[in-house]
């Protein structure tokens, strides 16, 4: 019953999306004014209905209704509660329903609260949003119906892939999806502004909170995904340049560029066409990501559906939306008026530089990700990995991070680096640059074995960390706007993460050994001893568990329990690494298999400062949150103020009439 209800509600939501599109398009014509009032309520209702559909699917998973095909194929009655819940989106159909839900709920939210934009632009935006949703509704309802029943209920479910049975599944996909889909709102705003030829600061201010919100979630999603891969895959790496990871990085890069150009447009009315273009690119990258991950063109734990029909469906959607938006952009770009001017030394110029470099990195990642697919189509199989991505993206990332230290100190429009401004800008930045140079020199002299890229990373992090606080210099800290604090934390987070990455690749030590219980090994500052190995059991797995005591430089030992788990439903294996975190790094232990001579393979890493990578990511997201709060608070204050003014005016008018 719940399944049928869910499906019916989903169809109704799709029908409302059609209505929203038709009403929106008609309302933009002079003769269709009357139905303009329809668009907002329909958008809200659509969000409510599709959320109900998702709730229905979640209920089916929680009660393990095995007469539903999706539940039978992906769940199991004995699975822990949290994985039943998260398992709702741990499969192709469920994840697409989650995608559509977030999209429609976000659209409903825009319809409910957005009051700053001219009504026409907002209606065009909502129509654009429903047009995008429609494609995904069609995809869901026609080729991946999550509510399909089985002719006969299955006796038991097939279970969830063991690699996915991790708490990460509860957070990683929804956060990334909110990010992806938030960019669809930015895309719809861009399309709306192009349709009504209304690209200006008001458009940028309306779009900015959505871009910021999406960007925060993308940052969190990528950070969480990276940590998840780090501790579950048992390879000790935190980023593999896997196409699936790149699929989440590319929208992030585009969104970062969009975020910065948006603030130029909002404050200075410059970079108009460029911002619109980035809005289109950012969502296109989300779609490319979805296409890569969900089409089955890549085989990975992320690709649930290996079904060519679905692949071509997403490819068609991709072509329609991106092609359509680019055509619209081509037609309307010439009508977007020239923005305000600025000189080479100015805040705008540094942001343009940042944007161009981010697009450069985006291009590098995109080419590297698609290249193997292209060559494979021509019959040559290649794989592209860190030897390509690391140095080539650094060519763009390093200049960008250098400019990041200066840009926030510059004035809008025009600035100079000498005369009066030397003490404000040139001198402090020079000190930071000297710090970087000293670190680089120190690394080269003391530890020449460290490769160039990690050495540069350490040096830049050392200079960027203090430089990111310079915008606060000479300011009253209590009166500093939250958005400025957000920028400071965001940039500082980049320095922290960079330090973690550089230090991980410069100083990690690894020890691989076959050990008998009682044997000890030295890894970095740690002395590790294999105490014993025994069996343990969990709710739906059994495991061999090693007991390892690890002593840091002779201190009292900590106990670690790396496991090799065997899952029964569905059958599968997973290594469960064990971590010991200190302030200055992490010990990482993995249990391998038993050799012929009853020795156990053990692998240990000592990774100095590796947690900084994820702390940095969290700091970046925190900076975004501060900026978002600052912007929203300012908007609320403005709304309240205009409300009061309007109220007083109406009172005055009433009194005037009364007299």
């Amino acid at each position: 019953m719940i399944a049928e209800l869910g499906l019916a509600v989903l169809w109704m939501a799709a029908a409302l999306a059609v209505l929203q599109l038709v009403a929106g398009v008609l309302a933009l014509r002079p003769e269709g004014r009357q139905i303009a009032g329809l668009v907002r309520p329909v958008a809200v209702m659509q969000g409510v209905l599709v959320a109900a559909a998702l709730a229905a699917l979640i209920t089916l998973f929680l009660t393990t209704d095995l007469s539903v095909k999706l539940v039978a194929e992906n769940s199991h009655s004995m699975k822990p509660f949290i994985f039943k819940l998260a398992g709702t989106w741990g499969n192709h159909e469920g994840s697409m329903l989650l995608w559509v839900t977030i999209m429609a709920v976000a659209g409903g939210f825009v319809a409910l609260i957005e009051k700053r934009l001219p009504e026409n632009t907002l209606i065009a935006t909502l129509a654009g949003q429903s047009f995008v949703s429609l494609g995904f509704y069609a995809f869901l309802l026609l080729s991946s119906n999550p509510f399909q029943r089985l002719p006969e209920p299955a006796p038991e479910g097939a279970g969830l892939n063991p690699l996915l049975q991790d708490i990460g599944l509860a957070f990683h996909p929804p956060t990334l999806y909110v990010g992806y889909v938030g960019l669809s709102i930015a895309f719809s705003f861009a399309v709306g502004a192009l349709v009504t030829r209304d690209v200006g600061p008001a458009f940028a201010r309306a779009m900015r909170p959505w871009v910021l919100g999406a960007w925060i979630f993308l940052t969190l999603g990528i950070t969480a995904g990276s940590y998840w891969a780090y501790y579950t895959l048992g390879w000790g790496g935190w980023w593999f340049w896997d196409p699936v990871e790149n699929a989440s990085l590319m929208p992030w890069l585009a969104a970062t560029a969009l975020l910065h150009s948006c603030s130029v447009l909002a404050s200075r009315n410059a970079l108009k066409a460029w911002t619109v273009m980035l809005g289109v690119i950012a969502f296109s990258m989300s779609m490319v990501g979805t296409f890569l991950v969900r089409s089955g063109i890549l085989t990975s734990v992320h690709a649930f559906a290996v079904d060519p029909e679905r692949g071509s469906f997403i490819l068609a959607l991709l072509a329609i939306y991106i092609g359509g938006a680019l055509t619209l952009f081509g037609l309307r770009a010439s009508t977007v008026t020239e923005g305000a001017r600025f000189s080479f030394v100015s805040r705008e110029a540094s942001l343009v530089f940042n944007n161009v470099m981010l697009c450069g990195i985006l291009g590098i990642v995109l080419v590297g990700t698609l290249y193997p697919l292209l060559t494979e189509a021509m019959g040559v199989k290649v794989s592209v990995g860190p030897p390509y991505f690391n140095p080539v993206s650094a060519v763009f990332a390093i200049p960008m991070m250098l400019v990041m230290g200066v840009g926030p100190l510059l004035r809008w429009r025009q600035d100079s680096l000498d005369g009066k401004r030397a003490g404000r800008v040139t001198l402090p930045v020079g000190v930071c640059a000297l710090l970087s140079a000293a670190v680089l020199l120190g690394v080269e002299l003391m530890a020449p074995q460290i490769k160039l890229l990690p050495a540069l990373g350490l040096a830049i992090a050392a200079g960027l960390a203090p430089a990111s606080f310079l915008p606060l210099r000479g300011r009253n800290l209590r009166r500093t706007p939250l958005a400025t604090w957000g920028m400071v934390f965001g940039h500082f987070g980049i320095a922290v993460a960079l330090f973690g990455m550089a230090s991980e690749s410069a100083f990690s030590t690894e020890r691989l050994a076959a050990m008998r219980p009682g044997d000890t090994q030295q890894v970095g500052p740690y002395t590790v001893k294999l105490e014993g190995i025994g069996p343990v059991a969990g709710p739906n797995w059994t495991a061999l568990e090693a007991t390892v005591s690890a002593s840091y430089a002779g201190a009292a030992p900590a106990i670690l329990h790396p496991q090799a788990r065997t899952f029964s439903n569905p059958p599968g294996n997973r290594t469960e690494s064990a971590l010991k975190t200190r302030w200055n790094g992490q010990l990482y232990a993995v249990l391998g298999e038993e050799g012929e001579d009853s020795r156990w393979q053990m692998r240990f890493w000592w990774k100095p400062f590796v947690p900084m990578i994820w702390y940095g990511g969290a700091l970046i997201a925190f900076g975004g949150l501060l900026a978002l709060l600052g912007r929203v608070a300012a908007d609320v204050r403005r709304l309240v103020a205009t409300g009061k003014i309007a109220y007083r005016r109406s009172r005055k008018a009433q009194l005037g009439v009364g007299q």
């Binding site: 892939n161 001017r341 199989k381 025009q414 076959a514 050799g595």
Partner: protein, 150 residues
């Protein structure tokens, strides 16, 4: 450092962006040519060996009875074959769970002399997760088996 004329600013920005993007494209193309790791099956590897030290991937079947463990307990030697040619492989590390004789494997690494030294092994994780190159491999093998039994 002076402000540019309004007419020209957009053009200048456009040109800078284009130069950067074209630069990125050229750089990417050049780097891909040098850095992409090509996928080889054993017969390709024997017929056209890559330059020594170049990162490549080798995919094939782990031959029955070929796995032997070295005395250090963490190095494993085995032979990867495709029915036509055989390549000895050395790998130091923890092997994937489903690394067994007679099953498919993709090894990432480089040729050192006559031996392929692998940095990483990718084996079939479960039914739903098969490295892309290996799917074809099993199909090829299946065809071969069918052809041989006929």
């Amino acid at each position: 450092m002076s402000a540019i004329k309004a007419k020209h600013q957009r053009l200048v920005l456009l040109v800078i962006a284009l130069i950067a993007l074209i630069g990125a494209g050229l750089l990417a193309a050049w780097a891909l040519k040098n850095q992409a790791a090509y996928f080889y099956v054993p017969s390709d590897l024997v017929a056209h060996p890559p330059e020594a030290g170049r990162a490549v991937r080798l995919g094939g079947m782990v031959e029955k009875g070929s796995i032997s463990h070295a005395a250090d307990g963490v190095t494993v030697n085995f032979v990867v074959g495709d029915g036509k040619a055989r390549v000895p492989v050395r790998f130091t590390g923890i092997t994937p769970d489903l690394f067994v004789e007679g099953s498919g494997v993709v090894a990432e690494g480089r040729m050192e002399g006559q031996t392929f030294v692998a940095d990483n092994l990718l084996a079939k994780h479960d039914e739903k997760y098969v490295p892309r190159e290996m799917k074809d491999m099993t199909a090829q093998q299946a065809k071969q088996v069918v052809a041989e039994t006929k």
